[in-house]
């Protein structure tokens, strides 16, 4: 409640003097025309002639109850493979089918059903979310004259609603009034643009009176405005109220999904509801992304389709020939009574129709269950990512989240990371660290950069093993100072000691500027008794905290005054001072300064100004340059230490001088027209002159926890990191140093724009710079030389043009680190696209704000930081983590695992289906190409579903080549992914060849053994069922043994799935054989009666299994012996516990495992050591 009291009836319209309430100016004329046809009858939503606008129900679901089936089915059969299987299922109803219809339809129904169920479940979640939103309550003015609660979905266009503090707006509203007299309210638009600062909105003067519930009984008005559109920052319309027409601009519009803050209540009229609202118009579905592995899988499918076509053609041709020449003499087939399909008279028709049969028969080459298995496996992998406790952030309580499971394996193949800076690498938290007052520097605590440098110097003396201490001391540093935003240490200023300084008066002035020159609002934290501040930017917040800590506590803001409590005074007693605010000249990116004009208690008018050093320095009076030289020097020091700096200045004003200016200013303010802005700016400019420089502040943009270490590890894993930031070049370079992306001795290639007017000239200049940079790199002989490319947004705009971008990219990929500053969201996306398409490698974009959405959607993988800023980036992302540092584990552990798992799984899948499918083909050659299958329909049905699916899925979910600790210790192992060692054509074709070999071995062993001889002591010979069952047994065993050889990590799950699959086959045979012969046919009692008692059955199984796995076994034994891969060696080291016994070797290898990294602090240390040694 305290907050409310402080701000009650606070008039702030003149506080925000001109920056906020700019009329859009353009409205008016077009209203009523095309695109501007909306008419809203305020407070009478029931008016009959009102056009029926969309209701406020939102639905983000893809399907509804009725459309689910057709739409979801359409989605499913969009996939070529599924369409093929559908064709097969339909054809299976005709006599052409080699199988019973159920064996074709059931797997398809299962696969499609499962995918649809997943789709349905996701949609159901969205539906529940929508329902939660739709059933939120809001106060709506009703016909009885009061305000009653209604659900959001019942809110209609024209309703008057009352929204209370911290509630979301149910629709786009026209602000009528608020609890503040002047109709101001504060809105948090985090959900819209990711910005956490509050934005002020202001009602029209005419509607200010409508600030009580009762005032609305007779309220009528007509709003005519634009049609729904996605532009968040424009609005054109007018309000007819009490016979007058008022123009409405965006400052009166409260957008749905933004939140009312610091305001008790507001009244508003609903303009856009539901999907008409701006935020809903803005929502785009994020593009669906597919991983590289999956795209490649498509090619394999095409290859298999071709194989399928070829063997179907062979088979059809064979069939036609047989029909033509053999059929007439096969009297037992009754050729004279044959239907068209078998008629020897029409071999062409027979051949063509047999094509259909063959396509179905060999369908096992295309693994129908592959898609569904992959889907299931990926969901489980994603669950592991979500459940990883080591990616859970204790501070914010947010675990990592795989928002889509499509891209797990893509995480293992990343080549380039494009990162946002603010909120991603840095916390967006500013710590007041140092200052320079009256030419004297204060503040002894080191910045991160200084700390890192100091540690490196310490490391110079010692060997590489000292990495640990570095990390340890970094961790120590991570313990924050107890006060957020304040990390200042200097006894000269703290605890009132500044009074003893010779420049005490200046220091006091400095603190006064900090405490008064701002637009923040204090908030009393009732638990601690301290004030916290709602500030527009974190810099400002840190200034206020600093002022408070130095003894100038800003504690109250009224409509016209700022109250500051001075703790340390000459008298020793705290005194409260009031500063009457006369004018506020707001901070904008163009002005780069902020000024307040106040009257202190003595009646003295002061102009207090803070701003970018270059701007302030231009505006100093002659006397005001007293400390200029010293301050400039300090500012340079601060900049090198990676700090953000601002200069502070003031000016004393005479009463008359102020009055004269104020008249001018008020005139400008009240003027209407296009040049109002210019006039205001001129007026402000007139005043902000002849300043006196007091000092400068240095604020540290705090890096997030673990960022340098994470970057170091990612660099060791061979990843490139590009930083794309909206910040200015200096800040970006500072952060580059802090993150070890830049270091001393690195050659920086700065590409900047010449500033020429001629576009062509500028372009040529940039091209020359790029060419020079490339030249420089080419001529460099030192293998350790590293280059950094730094480019700003304006230059980038040229560099991204079609004729130059490849050259630019060529330069950029040669550089160890790339920093793009001052880039717009659009440019971020463009750069991402350039890297993605230009290099053809996998890109990962990570960011936290709405401005990163484009980049996140454009990159192969988008990672959102689910932190303090809004949800936009997270919503657009594929994965979300709460801290940048979790990226290491996400990529190096989960990415590596998932990549290998999926790659091996797909390879094995193709192997098993080739091994199985080809046996059908060989057999067909022995049946006159008639399309008879050697296996019972049920065997084939179970093959993909039960008998071979679970082991491969357990491979896909649980396989670990090396443990997670090893992955992290040897980031270089990650390179197996980007190099695509496990899913290259060599390996894929190898597996296919293995499948071919396996099919040949199994088929011919079985055929020859069970050819014509009795297979039992009782003299029985093998029939179709016996041959089929024996062959199938061999297949089940071989495939499951093969996967056991493929795995390197056996938990009980693998044991159970592999053993269970084999056992399931025998159990199935027993059950199937025990069923009535009407169901089981020739398989009736086959195991018990025919096969199990025959030793030859078991011998064949053993022989075929060993013969099938032998080549692979020999291959991997050979490979491990002569061409061991990294994970093999590490497995062996771990197996023999060498890492424990020979720790020196282990540490040495770990440090050697680094790729040729040129960034990261390890590289930095290495560079230092090299430098040291060479001297």
């Amino acid at each position: 409640m305290a907050r409310g009291r402080i701000r009650a009836k606070l008039r702030k319209s003149h506080l925000y003097s001109f920056c906020l309430f700019r009329s859009s100016g353009s409205g008016g004329q077009s209203i009523g025309g095309p695109g501007f046809s909306r008419t809203v009858y305020c407070n009478e939503p029931q008016v009959l002639n009102q056009k029926p606008y969309r209701s406020n129900i939102i639905s983000t679901t893809k399907y509804n109850f009725f459309s689910f089936l057709p739409k979801a089915l359409y989605e499913q059969f969009h996939r070529v493979a599924n369409l093929y299987f559908l064709g097969c299922a339909i054809a299976s109803l005709t006599p052409l089918s080699p199988f019973s219809p159920v064996s074709m339809i059931a797997p398809l129904a299962f696969v499609v059903g499962l995918s649809m169920a997943k789709e349905g479940l996701e949609d159901w979640r969205r539906f529940m979310q929508d329902r939660e939103v739709n059933s939120r309550k809001v106060h709506v003015h009703n016909e009885e004259g009061g305000f009653g609660k209604k659900t959001w979905e019942d809110v209609r266009v024209g309703d008057v609603v009352k929204v209370e503090k911290d509630q979301f707006f149910p629709a786009d509203l026209l602000l009528l009034s608020s609890n503040y007299e002047d109709g101001i309210c504060y809105v948090e638009t985090m959900n819209l643009d990711g910005e956490t600062n509050l934005k002020a909105k202001k009602a029209l003067e005419a509607t200010l009176g409508l600030d009580e519930d009762d005032n609305f009984n007779n309220f009528k008005g007509i709003i005519k405005c634009e049609d729904p559109n996605p532009s968040l920052y424009t609005f054109v319309g007018n309000l007819e109220y009490e016979g007058k027409v008022y123009a409405i601009d965006p400052t009166q519009i409260l957008l749905r999904d933004s939140k009312l803050r610091n305001t008790e209540f507001v009244y508003g009229v609903v303009i856009f509801t539901g999907h008409d609202s701006k935020v809903m118009q803005n929502s785009t579905r994020s593009p669906s992304k597919r991983s590289r592995v999956e795209k490649k899988m498509d090619y394999i499918i095409y290859v298999l389709f071709s194989v399928l076509l070829v063997i179907s053609l062979i088979s059809s041709f064979g069939f036609a020939v047989e029909i033509k020449y053999s059929m007439p003499v096969w009297w037992f087939m009754r050729p004279q009574d044959a239907d068209e399909y078998y008629s020897p008279k029409k071999p062409v028709i027979s051949g063509l129709s047999h094509m259909v049969t063959a396509l179905m028969l060999y369908g096992y080459l295309i693994p129908i269950s592959l898609y569904v298995s992959i889907e299931v496996v990926k969901v489980l992998q994603a669950t592991f990512i979500n459940q990883d406790i080591q990616m859970y952030d204790e501070d914010t309580g947010i675990p990592a989240q795989a928002r889509t499971s499509n891209l797990n394996e893509e995480l293992g193949q990343v080549d380039t990371i494009l990162s946002d800076k603010t909120g991603t690498l840095t916390c967006n938290q500013m710590d007041f660290l140092k200052c320079s007052i009256a030419g004297i520097p204060y503040g002894v605590s080191p910045s991160e950069v200084e700390l890192a440098a100091a540690q490196q110097m310490a490391n110079d003396q010692e060997d590489q093993g000292e990495l640990k201490t570095l990390v340890a001391s970094k961790k120590e540093k991570a313990h924050k100072s107890p006060i957020k935003g304040f990390n200042f240490e200097d006894n000269r200023l703290m605890n009132g000691n500044w009074l003893k300084e010779p420049t005490a008066a200046r220091i006091m002035l400095f603190c006064q500027i900090l405490a008064v020159c701002h637009t923040a609002i204090p908030e009393l934290n009732e638990e601690t008794g301290n004030y916290t501040y709602e500030a527009e930017s974190p810099d400002e917040g840190s200034f206020l905290v600093a002022a408070r800590e130095l003894g100038f506590e800003f504690f109250q803001r009224t409509q016209s005054s700022v109250f500051v409590r001075e703790k340390y005074t000459a008298s020793g007693k705290p005194i409260e001072r009031e500063y009457k605010i006369l004018n506020v000249l707001e901070f904008t990116s163009k002005r780069k300064r902020m000024t307040v004009i106040v009257r202190d208690e003595e009646g003295q008018i002061l102009l207090l100004c803070k701003g970018a050093d270059s701007i302030i320095f231009d505006r100093l009076s002659k006397d005001g340059k007293l400390y200029l030289e010293d301050t400039t020097r300090h500012l340079n020091d601060y900049g090198e230490a990676g700090l953000r700096t601002l200069a502070l200045a003031y000016r004393k004003l005479e009463e008359s001088e102020y009055t004269a200016w104020n008249n001018e200013f008020q005139k400008a303010k009240t003027s209407i027209g296009a040049d109002r802005d210019a006039m205001l700016e001129n007026a402000a400019d007139m005043m902000e002159r002849d300043l006196f420089l007091v000092g400068a502040t240095a604020v540290e943009d705090k890096l997030q926890k673990g960022v340098p270490q994470c970057i170091d590890k990612l660099a060791q894993a061979g990843l490139k990191l590009w930083v794309l930031t909206g910040d200015k070049m200096e800040t970006a370079i500072n952060i580059g140093f802090a993150c070890s992306l830049l270091r001393q001795g690195m050659k920086q290639i700065c590409i900047t724009e010449s500033g020429s007017e001629d576009k062509q000239e500028v372009k040529e200049d940039i091209l020359k710079q790029i060419t020079n940079g490339l030249e420089m790199i080419k001529q460099e002989n030192d293998p350790h030389a590293a280059f950094a490319l730094i480019i700003d947004g304006k230059t980038l705009a040229y560099a991204l043009e079609d004729d130059m971008k490849l050259k630019f990219l060529g330069l950029a990929v040669e550089c160890a680190s790339v920093i793009c500053c001052r880039v717009s969201p659009k440019q971020k996306a463009l750069v991402t696209r350039l890297v993605k398409q230009g290099t053809g490698k996998t890109t990962l974009a990570i960011g936290d704000g709405a401005n990163d959405v484009g980049m996140i959607q454009e990159a192969d993988i988008g990672v959102g930081i689910s932190g303090v800023e809004g949800m936009q980036a997270v919503m657009a992302s594929d994965f979300s983590v709460s801290q940048f540092r979790f990226l290491e584990r996400l990529l190096v552990v989960h990415g590596h695992w998932c990549y290998k798992r999926i790659a091996q799984m797909i390879c094995y899948f193709f192997y098993k289906n080739i091994a199985f499918g080809l046996t059908l083909f060989y057999f067909e050659a022995f049946t006159g190409f008639s399309g008879q299958s050697v296996y019972d329909d049920w065997y084939m049905l179970l093959f993909n579903v039960v008998l071979t699916s679970l082991p491969v899925m357990s491979l896909g979910v649980f396989e670990q080549d090396v443990s997670s600790e090893v992955c992290l210790e040897f980031p270089a192992v990650y390179q197996q992914g980007p190099r695509n060692l496990f899913f290259d054509w060599y390996r894929i074709l190898g597996w296919m060849g293995n499948g071919l070999l396996c099919s040949l071995i199994i088929f011919f062993i079985n055929i020859i053994i069970l050819y014509d001889q009795a297979f039992r002591a009782e003299g029985q010979t093998a029939d179709l069922a016996v041959l089929g069952t024996t062959m199938f047994t061999c297949i089940v065993w071989s495939l499951n043994c093969q996967i056991a050889l493929t795995m390197s990590h056996f938990t009980w799950i693998q044991h159970v799935t592999i053993g269970g699959s084999i056992a399931a086959w025998y159990i199935f045979l027993l059950i199937y054989g025990a069923l009535s012969p009407r169901i089981s046919g020739d398989a009736y009692q086959i195991l018990v009666e025919a096969l199990a008692p025959a030793p030859i059955y078991w011998q064949t199984t053993l022989l075929a299994t060993i013969a099938c796995t032998l080549p692979y076994m020999a291959h991997i034994a050979y490979q491990r012996c002569f061409e061991p891969e990294d994970h093999h060696i590490i497995q062996e080291i771990k197996y023999y516990r060498k890492d424990v016994e020979d720790q020196h070797m282990w540490t040495r290898e770990r440090s050697k495992a680094r790729q040729k990294t040129k960034i990261g602090f390890t590289a930095r240390v290495d560079a230092k050591i090299r430098l040291h040694k060479s001297h």
Partner: protein, 349 residues
């Protein structure tokens, strides 16, 4: 209210304590399963393992191969191909006419026993180039009709051999229709050698697939006669020739059991076979063979199995040896870090 709502205060940091309970619920629960830390055995293919695995296979396979080969060698087999020999000289060039004519088809053959044959001696007929596994042929039967008298008219799957003169045929279909109808009579030293035709089919077939109350009806009384006729007074469950025939063979060359001779035969015994050469394999140039064979525990004569076992066993032995040699000649210390990729390509450090 004011204290319980998160706000972005100075420094842009929200108050963390108010929402803490909700947040804690998001904390993933620790379990070895979810953290992927389940205990696992991670076998690796060390040279010792590789060599022992190959050795083990060869140690197991070679004896099996030897035993199987011996078993196969024990089997005595007499094969007599008779389809050409049983055609009279005048018809050698037009065998089809002969087989379709009404001439007598009787034919005498003499088989000489080379080695002692222990009872039971199995009598097989072997057909060649006969596509019993052709899809059209395989499907042309009605299992329900064979099993139950009540569904005797269930002949839908039997086309074109489903109805005869508008009466359902039992057993219907091409398979039954083309039943093999050569007959063999054996005599040794002018004494009839009894051929036991009982128990040549699977017991489960007799008990469960061919009904005891199902009798042949309208069988082979159409215009086109296929193969053998059946005695309409004997139920299908006792028509073992039919039951054996109905088990379709997997390959175009196949043997089917004809009967058993329950008598030992001595070396140099001359067996006279009087056979009725009725079955037409001449249309499609199919061979017909009469086979007398003993069995071992393995079944019939099957050298391939033993040879295959010996081959694989030998191959494994060879692999084991070569890997041993390789490991001895060019050993790679296990876990030798110098094989790591970053140590192998110089230039990195």
């Amino acid at each position: 209210m004011s204290s319980s709502t998160p706000s972005s205060s100075a420094g842009g940091v929200g108050s963390a304590d108010s929402a803490a309970p909700r947040r804690n619920s998001k904390r993933p629960k620790y379990s070895k399963f979810t953290q992927q830390e389940l205990p696992a055995c991670k076998p690796i293919l060390t040279p010792r393992w590789v060599i022992s695995a190959f050795m083990l296979v060869s140690i197991v396979f070679i004896p099996i191969g030897v035993v199987s080969l011996f078993a196969s060698r024990d089997v005595v087999e007499i094969i007599d191909r008779y389809e050409t020999a049983c055609v009279p000289d005048g018809y050698k060039n037009d065998k089809v006419t002969f087989i379709q004519s009404n001439l007598t088809k009787q034919c005498n053959r003499t088989l000489t026993v080379k080695k002692r044959m222990k009872k039971p001696i199995y009598v097989y007929y072997q057909l060649d180039n006969f596509y019993q596994n052709h899809r059209r042929y395989v499907k042309s039967r009605s299992d329900s009709q064979l099993k139950e008298n009540s569904s005797w008219d269930d002949v839908s799957s039997c086309k074109p051999e489903d109805m005869s003169k508008d009466q359902p045929i039992v057993p219907c279909g091409l398979i039954a229709w083309s039943l093999f109808n050569d007959t063999y009579n054996f005599s040794l030293n002018d004494q009839q050698l009894a051929v036991n035709k009982k128990g040549i089919s699977w017991k489960s077939d007799r008990d469960s697939k061919f009904g005891k109350d199902v009798f042949p009806k309208n069988f082979q009384n159409g215009s086109l006669k296929g193969g053998a006729t059946l005695n309409p007074s004997i139920p299908l469950s006792e028509q073992e020739d039919l039951i054996v025939w109905m088990r379709t063979a997997a390959l175009p060359t196949f043997r089917k059991l004809y009967g058993k001779i329950e008598q030992d035969l001595q070396p140099n015994d001359q067996i006279h076979v009087t056979l009725d050469n009725n079955y037409n394999t001449y249309s499609f140039n199919g061979k017909k063979k009469l086979v007398l064979s003993t069995t071992s525990w393995l079944g019939g004569k099957n050298d391939f199995l033993g040879i295959a076992y010996l081959t694989v066993g030998g191959l494994c032995f060879f692999l084991a040896l070569s890997f041993t040699v390789v490991y001895l000649v060019k050993p790679r210390r296990l876990g030798d870090p110098s094989y790591l990729s970053w140590n192998r390509n110089p230039g990195g450090h």
